[in-house]
Structures are given as structure tokens and as C-alpha cells.
Symmetry: C2
Subunit: 514 residues, 2 copies
């Protein structure tokens, strides 16, 4: 049986990742530094993620709108920490015209803008400016909006989906009368992200609050969902920020309260991006390629007729068309099942591997014998192990159609359970001092690609701040480690802080990360 990928996860995880992106036909590099081309299969996954999340964003009372791509340079300067965090690497538009000169195109120097524009790296400042205009009274609050947009951050090292110069995301922005309301909103959207990750992407996450040094620039508190990739590293998969009154003060976003006082609004922002697709790859992919949770598979059931370029092909196609028609009438996960009949004149064995690499959850191979017996032959992608495919032959066609929704639900649940077991089994909570943690993760110089799997460490800490926290960060950085988040739902802490030796106030997750 044909081996699908040129490299296994164990041999070289980053190369394996790139091989899945290529061979599952998700995306490719573009001629523009750090920007990718998202191909139809990758984009189809993103459309399904968008639809699932957009529904939840609307159900929680938010409305979509759209703000400009460009932000005047002076806006970026308004919020001090925001400048620090974002002003460094952004695409800057300085001119608005090209002209021909000596047979070449050049930037027309007479078209220089009075004020440079940056391509939005995030939209707090331009949206805050609108909030200031929109809000005058407590009756105008809360304002609950979201936009789906492209953003640009000039990244030095890029990796498909995980870190690209341009990426696609949604950014929610809300304004409230009180801290309580704004914090409740921040946590509500964090829960929406957890549900999206776990129930839709089948990607289990650790939900918690980021430590001070990992907050969004300008936030009072930042919460995240952290997923564990198959190399043990953490992927920050979504963040939700309580911005306090920081942006409101910087941008003068105020409201008149019921008692007539002028008060600053409390604002929030929250976002997830195309990075989630990278998370799906590194959560569910195997050495044969991608495995897609059915909820986000652009095609959930793919029918491959075993064509032989003979006259009998016509009859086989009729049989397969009828099968597709039956599947089109089926509902899975509350939506029409997405079935696809692959009629391309390509050898069936190649087709099989094309679809398996792409991660289609169920492949139906249909040959003349299946047709004669009114049957189908099924390959379940989640049960494929290193090319050793589990084939269910001789399934009655009607039975398959009848049970397709359950099968898809079972595959969705299996993928989640597998990932959840890995996450749960790989959070070490028994390492009680920094040296033990360092020994567990091993030297930072080790070649990333060949490093042995290391998961998360959950360790007690005393929540150091200021200079002490900077020192913690420095010690961790030397081992390529970062503080991820303080898992939610902790009621008490025990033991000594692994960094300071003082009594711990809570546990925190430490990991290598993307």
C-alpha cells in the first residue's frame, strides 16, 4: 500500500506538518513574502469553521459589521501599551500611485500620503474611535459587534496557517457600562471558543487566564484556550481580552450613567484565526496525512467509483449517482450531509490516496461487485493506521445511508476522545521545582525537529509580578518555555511556587509553544 507522506511525525514534526499542508492541498506559499494562498480544500474548512462560529457569535447577541483595512498611524499611538505591542512590525502604506519611468513601474514620489496608513494588525483603535461617536448614554450599552477580516503583522518567521504575514480572523469588540458586564462578556466568548474548539474541531483545550506578561497589549486581563499538538507543544487557539477602561481612556469612550455621571466604558475584544486550521492538522493529522473531524470536512463522504475505462463504467456511475442522491437527502449534525462523487478520470488508487491524505472522514469505494450486490465498501479515515486501512466491505447501500449520520458522529467523537486522552495523559503535575521541570523538558539547544515528545507541565506558582515575573520569563525562555495559562476552575492551591518558593496561589501551565 502506497505510503502517503514523505516523512512521519516522529522523524521530523515540522517537515511532517508542511507535508500535510502540501499533500492535503490546503495551502501553498505565494510570491508575497509570508503570505499564503489558501486552496479550495483549506478554504472549505475555514468556511465551515466560520459558519459554526458566526452562528454562535450571533446567538450570543453580536452583530457583524466592517471597518476599514487601513488605520491612520496616529491612531496606533493612542494607547501606550498597544504601541509597544504592535507598532513594531506592520505593513505601512506611504504612497498612493505608481508611474511608468524608463519603461518600468516605480512609486510616484509625488503621491506620498500626508499621514502614513498601517494595514490593520488588529482593530481596537479604529473601532474604539467609532465607539466614541456611537456611545453617549448608558442606554446605548452594551455595544456588541464582530467583524470577519484580514489582518497583517509583519512576521519574520512564518509558517503556513500558524504564523503568516496576512491572516484571516474574526475580531469581536464590545463596550459595556461596568467591569462586571465586560468581564462576563469576555468569559462568555471564551466559552464560545472552547465549545468551537472541542465540539466542532474536536480539539480539546485548557481554558484559563494568561499571566500578566502574556496579556494582549493594552488589556487588563487576557484569557486563552490552549491546545496540545502531537509534538506536545501548546497552541494558543483563541484569546478573549478584558481591556478595562484603558482604550476608553485613551480614546475618550464615555457614557452618561442613569444618574447623570460621565463614565468610561469597559471594553473587550476577542478573536480566533486561520491558525485554527494549523491546530486541526497538528491535533488530528497522522502519517498518512490529514484527518478531518466531520463537522469541518468540506466533503464528509466521498464516493470513488472503480472506473476501468470500459463501457461498464456508465452503469457504475449511475449506481454511484443514485448513492450520492440518497446521501444528499440525509441530515448530519443538523445540516445536509456533504457527499461528493469523484468522477475525475484518474486511477482509482490515486484518488483513494488523494482523499485519504486530505482527511475526508469516509471514503466509499464502489466497484462492479459492490454494485451487483447493492453494496458499498467503506474506508473510515479515523481507523486508518499507517497505511493499514480498515475496510468494511459488503455493507448494504441502504444501511450505509441510514447510518451515515451516526457514523459521522462516531468519527467526530473518536477524534475528540483520542486527542482528549493525549492531552489528559500529558499534563505533568508532579514536578515540584524548577530544576525538575527543566530536566523534564531537556536542553533548549536540542533540535526541535527531533525532540522527544514533551507535553505540558502544571505547576504551582505564587503569581509573581513586575521584575520577579520578568526573571521567571527569562529563566523559562532559556529553556524555550513559556507560561501558557492558569487553568480555570481552581478552588485552592497547595505547595510552593516552582519559581519563587513562596506558597503557591494557583497552578499554571508551562510548555513549549507555537
Amino acid at each position: 500500500m502506497k505510503r502517503a507522506l514523505p516523512v512521519t511525525r516522529e522523524e521530523n514534526f515540522p517537515e511532517w506538518y508542511q507535508a500535510v499542508v502540501d499533500q492535503a492541498d490546503l495551502a501553498e506559499t505565494s510570491p508575497v513574502r509570508g503570505c499564503m494562498i489558501v486552496k479550495p480544500w483549506g478554504w472549505g474548512i475555514w468556511e465551515l469553521i466560520q459558519a459554526a462560529l458566526d452562528k454562535r457569535i450571533k446567538e450570543t447577541g453580536h452583530e457583524n459589521c466592517y471597518f476599514p483595512l487601513f488605520i491612520p498611524m496616529s491612531f496606533i499611538a493612542q494607547e501606550a501599551s498597544h504601541v509597544e505591542g504592535f507598532a513594531k512590525e506592520m505593513a505601512v502604506v506611504t504612497h498612493h500611485r505608481l508611474k511608468a519611468q524608463d519603461g518600468k513601474l516605480v512609486v510616484d514620489p509625488t503621491s506620498e500620503l500626508e499621514e502614513p496608513l498601517v494595514v490593520r494588525p488588529t482593530s481596537e483603535t479604529i473601532i474604539g474611535d467609532a465607539f466614541r461617536r456611537w456611545i453617549s448614554s448608558y442606554r446605548d450599552l452594551p455595544i456588541l459587534i464582530n467583524q470577519w477580516a484580514n489582518v497583517v503583522r509583519w512576521e519574520m518567521r512564518t509558517r503556513m496557517f500558524l504564523r503568516t504575514t496576512e491572516f484571516l480572523w474574526q475580531e469581536g469588540h464590545t463596550a459595556h457600562a461596568s467591569k462586571d458586564d465586560a468581564l462576563a462578556e469576555t468569559l462568555k466568548m471564551l466559552e464560545v471558543y472552547r465549545e468551537l474548539a472541542e465540539d466542532v474541531l474536536a480539539m480539546p483545550v485548557v481554558v484559563g487566564e494568561k499571566p500578566e506578561n502574556e496579556r494582549f497589549p493594552g488589556a487588563d486581563s487576557t484569557f486563552s484556550i490552549e491546545a496540545m499538538m502531537q509534538d506536545g507543544k501548546a497552541l494558543q487557539a483563541g484569546t478573549s481580552h478584558y481591556l478595562g477602561t484603558n482604550f476608553a481612556r485613551a480614546q475618550n469612550i464615555r457614557y452618561q450613567s442613569a444618574s447623570g455621571e460621565l463614565e468610561y466604558c469597559h471594553t473587550t475584544s476577542w478573536g480566533v484565526s486561520t491558525r485554527l486550521i494549523g491546530g486541526v492538522i497538528m491535533t488530528h493529522g497522522d502519517d498518512d496525512g490529514l484527518r478531518l473531524p466531520p463537522r469541518i470536512a468540506p466533503k464528509q463522504v466521498v464516493i470513488v467509483p472503480m472506473l476501468r475505462e470500459k463501457p461498464e463504467d456508465a452503469e457504475l456511475l449511475v449506481y454511484c449517482e443514485a448513492l450520492k442522491d440518497l446521501l444528499d437527502g440525509v441530515t448530519a449534525f443538523g445540516q445536509p450531509l456533504r457527499a461528493h462523487l469523484d468522477k475525475k478520470p484518474v486511477r482509482s488508487a490515486n484518488k483513494r490516496w488523494d482523499w485519504l491524505r486530505r482527511g475526508a472522514p469516509i471514503l466509499l469505494e464502489v466497484g462492479p461487485r459492490d454494485m451487483a450486490n447493492n453494496q458499498v465498501t467503506m474506508i473510515r479515515r479515523d481507523r486508518l493506521r499507517d497505511g493499514d486501512k480498515v475496510i468494511s466491505a459488503g455493507l448494504a447501500r441502504a444501511d450505509f445511508v441510514l447510518h451515515a449520520p451516526e457514523l459521522l458522529a462516531e468519527i467526530q467523537a473518536n477524534l475528540f476522545a483520542e486527542a482528549k486522552a493525549r492531552l489528559d495523559a500529558n499534563i505533568r503535575a508532579d514536578l515540584k521545582d524548577f530544576d525538575a521541570i527543566g530536566a523534564y523538558f531537556g536542553a533548549a539547544e536540542e533540535d526541535d525537529a527531533k525532540s522527544v515528545f514533551k507535553g505540558f507541565v502544571r505547576a504551582p506558582w505564587a503569581r509573581p509580578t513586575g521584575a520577579e515575573l520578568v526573571e521567571v520569563e527569562t529563566r523559562l525562555k532559556a529553556l524555550k518555555l513559556t507560561l501558557r495559562n492558569v487553568p480555570a476552575g481552581q478552588t485552592s492551591a497547595s505547595g510552593a511556587c516552582v519559581f519563587t518558593g513562596r506558597p503557591a496561589v494557583e497552578d499554571i501551565i508551562i510548555a513549549r509553544a507555537y
Copy 2:
């Protein structure tokens, strides 16, 4: 009865347009020159247009994907006419970093890019570059893709939705083995646009081919749909281009034919944009605000309880909630009906006008008397005439729910019929020479805002080309007129060309235009 807008269409059409954009809460100007903020009601309309078109784009075999926002400057230079048409006014990214200096943010001069990047004004060049990599054999053809994206053209004079520096659109790009295939594709998508405009937006259009001087830069032929606004001007609402082998030659997009020859691909592109929303406003709006065809109304039925800030309000709200639940179970145009219950603590009369100005197709006002009789009171937006509302009181609630889908379909049909009658009645085909046409349209110096309604002129022409066409264009331009398109389906022509006096080969539409 409260007058909705500060200005009528007759008083000043451009000011009326802007008043509708404001008062229907569709969009507002942003601090970024020429860029607008699309507000939730405007964005909701765009989402519905997107969904309707995306469905049709997929049904015709196209797949969505996503290409970079930035295009290297050298790419723009590849196709000569394209340079001519687009190289002039574009946003140019020249640097990738800001830095603090003397307490201010400035562009860091050390971050200058080796090659400037333009923000895409359209994506033929960057997508063609991918086509070159993707296509090697005739078996790879056709390639049928589409993307939903933001694009930027540095416009000097902007107007909300109609001409903005940044706008949202879809751009389809396809590659084919032959001219016949590519032309068929071009016309297929033109028909998709006609159907979208007429069946979804209720906006009748003239379908036809653009004359040579109005073609897309780099196209062999350009087709358009042209709608007539209520001031008689034409709005180009969608275009579909057959690009011949021009881009393929410039970018070396070739395939090996079945007989083994290397051939250039024939490519197409086609797009519609947020400009369509401007078309909807100027097709259906009246002196009370916007009127929305139900298919693209974010809320199709709005329930306004006549609240009095008294204890009885609670019971009234229960009655209205039950009504909304009933409507939520109804299907209109094959989708769940979009009902909305407006519970905001605002005076009911203000609410009424808010919703009427926004163009909600059906408003249900529900007071204690309606509740007592199990009834509703209905205002149909399409039957409102200059504030003289047509109220249907005493409708049984169950009857309304039962008939809501038909009512919405009737409103959709009415709006189309009204616009269609206006279009048909205002195409003058009896003006047989240029002087008569000039006299009909009147002097160009006339104040646009106060000009008397002028529709389209359909006149015979001999399809002049080259210098002769340039002269025609110049003569028309002096009267602020343009050639719109040659209506499809003409079988024969009669009479003399109004420009050259030679025997005509077909009729062409002449009009003032947006």
C-alpha cells in the same frame, strides 16, 4: 405624520442618497480617507447578497479560495493594458515598521521593502501566477475559482458604497482550453449576475457587451449588467470579462493539449461588489428612506409592541414573543423567515420610523387592542407613499403568520415590477441622431443634483473603433454621457449610426452613469 428624510429625491438626488445611507443606518464615513464603516444593517444586507451569490457560484462548479492581499509591484507591470488601467491609483506599501522617535511614532526608514507591494486593486496577476503553476495539461482544465475579498483603488472622489477606496467584492477567475469554453463561462456568470440582480435584489438590468473603450484593462471583451437608478443614471452593477490569452501570454499560463501541443489558456474574470447596495438604495429607496426587497432584508418582519411603561407591557410582550416564535417556524423563499421583536425601551412611534427608514418590508405594530382580539396591525413598507402609511388593522394573527411567505413574495415582486416598469418606460429608442440625443439629455453644465430625470437612450451605431471611437467618446464626454453596453439578443439593426451616419450594425445604450 413624521417626515422621514430631510430631503426628497426630487429636491436633491445625491443628498437624498446620502440621507438614506445615514438614516437607514447602513454605513458611515471613517477617519480613513475614502473608506467607510459598514454598520450592522448594511452588513446584514451584504451577508444576504453574499449568501445568495455564493450559492450560485458554487452551483455552477466554482470553488472558493483565498489569495494574498498584497501584489508585488513587478506583477502589475506584466500585462500592458492592465498597467495602463490600474497602475495609476493604488495603495503602495513601502515599509514594514514604525518606530518611536522624540515621543512620536514615525515610519522606520530602515524597514524599506526591496520591492514595494500594492494592495490588490484586483487579482488577475497574482492568481494568474498560481494558474501558471497549477496548470500543465488539458486534464487540469477548466480551473474555476472565486474569492471574496477586500480590494483598494485610490479613488479621488468617493461616495458611500458606489465608489470607495476600499470595497468588498467577489472576483471569479477561470482558465480554459479554448475560446469557446471561456466565452461560455463569461456569459454563464453574466447570467448569474442578471439573476442575482433581478431575482434577489429586485433590480432590473440591461444585459449586454461593453464597447471596446469601456473594456476591463487587458480584456478581449467585457459584458455588464446596467441598472437604471431613480435619477435615470446607469449603474454598472456587475461585469464579466473574457480575457482571451492576454494574461496567459503575459504570465505564461500554458497547457499541453490532448495532441501534445503547448497552448495558451483562455482566461476569464468576473465580479460584483458592495456597490450593489448603492444600486438597491437608488432603485428602491423613496422619500421615507430605504425599501428592501425581502430576500435581502436582514429582518423581514419586525414586531413593534406598543409599550406604555405600564404593568400591562409584560402581557403584551408575551403575546409578541409568541408571535415571533410562530414566525420563526415559517419558511420564506426556502429559508427560515427572519422575524425580529423590537423590545428596546424607545417610544413606539420612533421605533416605527426607525424600521420604516431602514426598509424592513413588514412592520407589525401590536397594541393591547390587537392582543385582546388576537390580531396584529400591519404596515407594508412597499405601500407606504410619502409618509402616507397604509395600515391593515385587525388582521387575525394566525392568518398573518399563514400568509407571511406569500406577502413577502408579493412585496419582492412588487418592488421588481415597479423598477422594471420604470426601466422599460425610460429607454428612448426614437432619437435618431446625435443632436437629438444631446438635446434630450441637456447641457452638461446643469447642476446634477437638480437635473430633470433622464433615462437611457438606445441608439443605432456602426461599432466604430480606434480613433473614430475616441472621437465618439469625446463628444459624449462633453455632455457627461457614456456608452453603456450593447444589449444582448439583437438579431438585426436598422437605421444609420448616430455617430458616423454609416449603416448601423446594432443598438447601443447611452446614458449618464455612476
